[in-house]
Amino acid sequence: MAMDTVIDMADTFGVGKQVHEQEVTKALSREDDSQTVGAPFVDAPRMVCRDVNVYYGEKQAISNVSLDVAEHEVLAMIGPSGCGKSTFLRCLNRMNDTVDICRVTGEILLDGRNIYDKSVDVVPLRAQVGMVFQKPNPFPKSIFENVAYGPKIHGLTNSRFELQDIVEDSLKKAGLWDEVSDRLDQPGTGLSGGQQQRLCIARAVAVRPEVILMDEPCSALDPIATATVEDLITELREHYTIVIVTHNMQQAARISQRTAYFHLGRLIEVNPTDQVFTNPRHRLTEDYITGRFG
């Protein structure tokens, strides 16, 4: 039964010929099917996820994921398309609430509180856990307005000067200040793709979140813009906890401290990044990072 699933899954990714039946059997015998390999838990975690299941209507997208996010780390989530890594990321600040048919069970704790508790308000939660999306999505407003919007709606400041300071500070953190300081009143949509994405990061940073979620932030960018954003992520790590979903394994290797490998809605392996890429412990992880499928 479980083996069928794995073979189906292999077929799904068009590698049925490469993943031989014996190898799959070997993988299963090495580790228990439902258990995550490696070190999903840390001391003094920033966010704690336990037995998270996500359903889209009848379909289960995430099954039994338990994972900790440590303070001031970059946690990379990798895996083939449709493995649920983005879905899981969006659970961390309840962006999945916008999808009507989406249902989440299990616990996700932030500061010891389950964010899916009825008493939790998503507005302050999302101020605390910011998000940067796959496609740069600046508001069709000026650069200044884009960054100032978050602080404004949360009432972080009432004075124009403080607001300007926040905008400047955020744009500096996002490494965009030097490029746009003379045209803050220009529309944010007029920037290049890489600049737009950094503007979105500045916008997320301006609310002073504790955790920043990034959903493939570089997938729409060229290599040079990607390098800029990656440097930025490394710098941001000093102040923030970052969870990043990426398709690019080199990117995960470059910027993250820990890497989580997802497969068909299951968390297969979590380990320090260098270990995942040099000595993966699960056969599926190994197959993925060596490029046998994905």
């Binding site: 916008t98 009507d100 999306f133 600046p138 508001f139 069709p140 919007y149 709606i153 916008r203």
Partner: protein, 423 residues
């Protein structure tokens, strides 16, 4: 292998001509359809303009009016016999006309509105009394029709409403430069009248304005609020499906049904004033709401979800996301829908007949509760009138209505162009 290839090519080539012919036929059909519709449009416009352009000129008779002290020597200047002033002036021009019936025929050349015109002059400026002033008074509509050539001379006298003698007098007036054609200001400044030469569309335009004002004030906020709720807040369930189906159904309901509803509910149940723009606007609101809701929902749907996510992702509440980001982006589309709905409402006649806006109203309405009529109903009323001169006025009113419609639709197109794709 090679032979197979050539044969494939042969088959393809032999079929090519047929394919292209088909394509050509289709294109010709399309062009034909466009040409035919354009042709009809041209016919429509040219017939309306051809019939109506003369209405913008009006024949006037130049009279030397002597404001006789004796006639005007009354306590109330309003009730003096101004018609006599006009008659005296006419008789002065034609001293040879003596018989009673001849005189009556002569006086009929001048519009009955001339007396009111003199009355207004005197009340405005009583110092005119005792003086002789050159005044341009409107000619009777039959005279106007004759001058404009709608009444041919070669028709037997019994078949036209202007006698041979009157014709001779008119010729004499023209020869002595006493009969002029001037721009028809009355048409734009007066309300409805039984006399074509005294009737104007200002009453109908004002009525239309008040009615549309009520419609806009009611339907835009209600429509947008309904669209926002249905699109952004309402859960997807059987109830909202039901609402959606019914909104689409309402858009297809014949407009006269809304009129009946207005008659039953607004007039009979709530007791709102009959013939008033207030009720007309409310009925038209019911009619335009589905249009506005459907257009608004479509434009809300077209706002990219990434904008919503961006706002939600930094902690904007749902309402903030909508009011700060989604609504501004959807607004051009909503306004376009609203303007198109308004244009529909502007051209609507049937429901207004049911609530009494078809009444003959001379006064220009001063507010939303005054009795009023609207442009399309005015057109309907004039089209129904027997006088020949109302034909050109009907066409002229249609031209005015079309001008407003084109203006509104043009604004909608401009709005769409200006705000299209800002993200």
């Amino acid at each position: 292998m090679k032979t197979e290839n050539t044969s494939t090519m042969q088959v393809v080539n032999s079929g090519l001509a047929k394919r292209y012919a088909k394509e050509k036929r289709f294109r010709m059909l399309g062009i034909g359809a466009v040409v035919i519709s354009l042709l009809f449009l041209v016919i429509l416009f040219s017939s309306i303009v051809g019939n109506g352009y003369t209405a913008f000129r009006q024949s006037v008779i130049v009279l030397d009016i002597h404001f006789d002290k004796q006639i005007l020597d009354v306590s109330n200047l309003r009730s003096a016999n101004y018609a006599k002033l006009v008659k005296d002036a006419m008789s002065g021009l034609f001293p040879d006309v003596t018989g009673r019936s001849d005189k009556r025929m002569l006086h009929r050349l001048v519009s009955s509105g001339a007396a009111f015109q003199l009355q207004k002059m005197i009340i405005k400026d009583p110092s005119l009394i005792g003086r002789t002033v050159e005044v341009r008074v409107p000619a009777d509509d039959e005279v106007d029709m004759f001058i404009k050539g709608y009444i041919p001379r070669n028709v037997p006298e019994s078949e036209r409403r202007i006698s041979d003698q009157q014709m001779a007098w008119i010729d004499r007036l023209v020869d002595s430069d006493r009969l002029e054609r001037r721009f028809n200001t009355t048409f734009f400044t007066a309300g409805d009248s039984r006399e074509p030469e005294l009737s104007g569309i200002k009453g109908a335009v004002t009525g239309s304005f008040f009615t549309l004002l009520v419609t806009l004030v009611l339907s835009f906020p209600i429509g947008v609020a309904a669209a926002v709720y249905l699109e952004e807040f309402a859960p997807v369930n059987r109830w909202t499906d039901f609402v959606e189906v019914n909104i689409n159904n309402l858009a297809a309901v014949p407009s006269i049904v809304f009129g009946l509803l207005g008659l039953a509910v607004f007039l009979n149940f709530f007791g709102f004033p009959r013939s008033a723009p207030l009720v007309g606007g409310m009925v038209l609101t019911l009619m335009t709401l589905p249009t506005i809701i459907i257009a608004s929902r479509a434009s809300l749907k077209s706002v990219p979800p990434s904008i919503r996510e961006a706002a939600l992702g930094i902690g904007a509440s749902k309402l903030q996301t909508i009011t700060h980001h989604v609504l501004p982006l959807a607004m051009p589309g909503m306004m376009t829908g609203t303007i198109i709905g308004m244009a529909q409402a502007l051209g609507e006649t049937a429901p207004l007949l049911m609530i009494g806006m078809v009444a003959f109203i001379v006064d220009i309405p001063g507010g939303i509760t005054d009795p009023a009529t609207v442009l399309p109903v005015q057109i309907y009323l004039w089209a129904d009138s027997p006088e020949r001169a109302f034909v050109e006025r009907t066409s002229a009113a249609i031209m005015i209505l079309l001008a407003f419609l084109i203006l509104m639709n043009g604004t909608a197109v401009l709005l769409r162009r200006k705000f299209e794709r800002r993200w």
